[in-house]
Structure formats: structure tokens, C-alpha cells
């Protein structure tokens, strides 16, 4: 779908991170990399360090830590909230929803609509879409859009394809109606036929978790993982991103009647440095407009990747005047999309290190 939304503004962002920073060197013995390979991959892929939640941390813990910071510092008022969306592929439970847990722990009013959305790497765009649609019915109330995952609980520590790259994080974006704010142009594509490229086979109704599904197996490429773990077809995902994402971004710009030169920042989901570099080459946009340092500093935190990138790299810019951005995210589903919108003039844009 492709659509235009009028008068919708992101007025604040916070990224809540676990305090535990794990250097790649500390985990390299889990993988079958030689010392030479390790050094190469640090440079090429961005394997440096990532933020990993404690084993007992659930997704809502990061969300609540972030929300409590905003509520206790007066950056957010519970009575101003109309809806709370939590986008996650690692919910605390099947029931109750993570959004309801956050509502309860943060003492939000019962009038707040709580909604979970199951979406991974493209989750910020899908969350924005839902927030924009809800705002049509919420007047001057705000939508709280949380993207949160503790993927470290679902990825095998012996999976060198995925574990060095992932990170845990919860991002909170406040979205509200602001008259005369620049339109947002949103474009989303889905292809369920390629869904197997990124999957967690066990744990749902198709394949409940058992002792068998928890058994680690060698995939023949030096990775050990179980059916309870996330599995990624790295080569397939790479080709998907390089083939499908550039034309979709160009289509979005054309729909917005803009050229690449009109965009101040291209803020992309952060899978790994190599994939981003190749995507930027394909798009032929200046690398100085495309921050790509998230994986090496925090890891790839799934749907929270773009808000974390904004909070870590562009906080000052976001607190001053507005700047035109093209956001693009892509991942499980498969789902890929882009949004051209103005960001800036935010009330807050910050990171929070939690004890999660």
C-alpha cells in the first residue's frame, strides 16, 4: 500500500538499552571463526559489540523502564495518552499482550487503547502506519509507539550468522496530530511467500516447543541452532534487500514528488554494515546522509533500529528545526517499506541505559 498522511508528527523519541555491553571478542569462541576472519568481519560487517539484556529480562521490562523515565520526568503525561502500541516479535507471553502489561505497570488509564503488533525489522514503519490511523480518531491525545525486542533470547549463541549482529532495545516514539506539519508518504510491501527466509520455526501452534525443538543442530555451515531459535537465510535476505528495496525507495520518492537530493537523511534499518554499504551503492546516495554505525555500537535491535539510530546519531538535529528524512526498513514477513517525512522539533530525543 502507498498512502499520504497529513498533520502527523513524531514529537519525542527515547531508546531504552540494556546496560550489558558485550564485545565481539568475548563471544568469538562460540563461533568457528579464525583469528584472521574475526578481524576481517569486525571491519566488514560491523562486529564490534552489542547490547544484550539479562537472561531474566522480558520485553516489557525495557518498555516499562523507558516509559517510567518519560512519565517521571514529565516528558509524558499519562492523561495525554490515547493509545499504546507495542510492536514486537518477542512478546512476554502469548497472553496477556505486552502492551497491556506496560499499561498496567505504568498506571496508564483504562481508556488507553492497548495493541500489540507482531512485526520484526520493519516494525517501526508498520507501527507508524497504525499510529497515524489511530490519530484520525484520537483528537489531541497521543499515540505511544513502542518497538521492543529481546532477540538475544531467541537467537542461538552458537549461530554466527545472526548472534553477533543482534541487539536488544526498546524504543518509544510519541506520535501526535500537529496541524500543518508536512505530509508523510508511506509505502509498504509484503511477500509472505518468502517468509521462510527469516523464521522461528517452533513455539507457535504449528510446532509447539518441546524437548526435541530445543535440541541444537549443526546446519552444516558452522552454526548451531534449534527449532526454537531464529533462523536467517543470510544470502537470501541480502539479495532480497538489494533487489526489492531500492526500487521501492525510488517509488516512494516519486510518489512524494521528491528527488534523492531533497532528502537530508536516509535512515535505514541496520542489518549489518556490508548490506547497508551495498544498499547505499545501489541507491547512489551520499554515504554522509546514511548513518550505518548502529550494528557496531548496539547490535541490530529489530524494529527499534531506526528510532535507536535517530536517538544515538541525530538527537541534536531532532531537537532543533525539522529535517526531511527517508526512513526505510525491511525484514521478516517478508516486509519492506519506506516513509518520507519531516522529523525534528521534538520535545525530547534521548537514550536511556537501563538495568535490564
Amino acid at each position: 500500500m502507498i498512502a499520504t498522511f497529513y498533520g502527523k508528527k513524531v514529537t519525542g523519541m527515547l531508546a531504552a538499552l540494556p546496560q550489558n555491553v558485550v564485545p565481539f571478542e568475548d563471544e568469538v569462541s562460540n563461533y568457528s571463526f579464525s583469528e584472521k576472519q574475526t578481524l576481517r568481519l569486525k571491519k566488514i560487517m560491523g562486529y564490534k559489540q552489542h547490547r544484550i539484556a539479562k537472561p531474566e529480562t522480558a520485553t516489557s521490562d525495557l518498555c516499562i523502564a523507558g516509559m517510567e523515565r518519560l512519565l517521571s520526568t514529565g516528558k509524558l503525561n499519562a492523561d495525554d495518552i490515547g493509545a499504546l502500541i507495542v510492536v514486537t516479535i518477542t512478546p512476554d507471553h502469548f497472553m496477556p499482550h505486552t502492551s497491556n502489561i506496560v499499561q498496567s505497570k505504568c498506571n496508564l488509564p483504562h481508556s488507553v487503547l492497548c495493541m500489540d503488533i507482531s512485526q520484526g525489522c520493519a516494525g517501526f514503519l508498520i507501527g507508524l502506519l497504525q499510529a497515524f490511523m489511530l490519530l484520525e480518531h484520537l483528537g489531541n491525545k497521543k499515540v505511544i509507539l513502542i518497538n521492543a525486542d529481546v532477540l538475544s533470547h531467541k537467537v542461538s549463541k552458537a549461530d554466527r550468522n545472526s548472534y553477533p549482529l543482534i541487539g536488544d532495545c526498546a524504543s518509544i516514539a510519541v506520535v501526535e496530530n500537529v496541524a500543518n506539519w508536512a505530509p508523510a508518504y508511506l509505502n509498504i510491501y509484503m511477500d509472505g511467500s518468502r517468509g521462510g527466509m527469516l523464521e522461528i520455526p517452533a513455539g507457535g501452534s504449528r510446532m509447539p516447543c518441546t524437548i526435541e525443538t530445543a535440541r541444537l543442530q549443526d546446519d552444516g555451515e558452522g552454526n548451531l541452532r534449534s527449532l526454537d531459535n531464529m533462523r536467517m537465510d543470510g544470502a537470501g535476505v541480502f539479495q532480497f534487500v538489494q533487489t526489492d528495496v531500492p526500487p521501492m525507495i525510488m517509488e516512494t520518492l516519486e510518489y512524494a514528488k521528491m528527488e534523492k537530493e531533497d532528502i537530508n537523511w536516509f535512515l535505514f534499518h541496520q542489518p549489518n554494515r556490508f548490506m547497508l554499504r551495498k544498499l547505499v551503492e545501489k541507491l547512489e546516495v551520499p554515504t554522509c546522509k546514511v548513518p550505518m554505525d548502529e550494528v557496531e555500537n548496539f547490535g541490530n535491535p529489530s524494529g527499534a533500529s531506526i528510532p535507536l539510530l535517530i536517538a544515538s546519531d541525530l538527537a541534536e538535529t531532532m531537537l532543533s528545526g525539522n529535517t526531511r528524512c527517508c526512513l526505510s526498513a525491511f525484514g521478516e514477513g517478508l516486509c519492506w517499506g519506506a516513509i518520507v517525512l519531516d522529523l525534528g522539533g521534538m520535545d525530547f530525543c534521548e537514550m536511556l541505559v537501563t538495568d535490564c
Partner: protein, 76 residues
């Protein structure tokens, strides 16, 4: 061709590449090696390799690697 052979040797010195007709299929180069090799070729030949060329079949042999380098503007 010698430069490509040298890069392969630097990447995974434990293999004799003359013994394989398909480096990926025979387990000489895994997906991380392909990414490393792409970066090494780009640095050595001063080229940028098109992302759509980064598939295992492009790196099956010294000849196919040379073809990728040529296709992306390198002189082999």
C-alpha cells in the same frame, strides 16, 4: 588471475583451489568468506562489485571470479 589466486590463498590458506570446480559447493568459501572476498577484490582492483553479483555461483572458480571483476570494471 594470479592476483585472484593470491587473494583466495590469503583468505583460506588451508585449501588447494586447483582441486575444486565449485568453491562454494565444496565448502572452500562460506557466506562470510564471500563477503570478505568481495571486499578484498574491491580494494585490490579499485572497483565496486554490484550487489546482485554477490551470489555463490559468481565465486565458483577463479574464472568466474575474474568475470565478476571484469564485469564491474576491473582489469584482470
Amino acid at each position: 588471475m594470479k592476483r585472484i589466486c593470491d587473494l583466495l590463498q590469503e583468505l583460506r590458506p588451508e585449501f588447494d583451489y586447483r582441486e575444486s570446480k565449485d568453491f562454494a559447493r565444496d565448502g572452500y568459501l562460506d557466506s562470510f568468506d564471500l563477503i570478505s572476498l568481495v571486499t578484498m577484490l574491491e580494494e585490490n582492483y579499485g572497483i565496486l562489485i554490484d550487489a546482485l553479483d554477490i551470489v555463490p555461483s559468481s565465486f565458483a572458480s577463479v574464472e568466474t571470479i575474474a568475470e565478476v571483476v571484469r564485469k564491474n570494471g576491473g582489469k584482470v
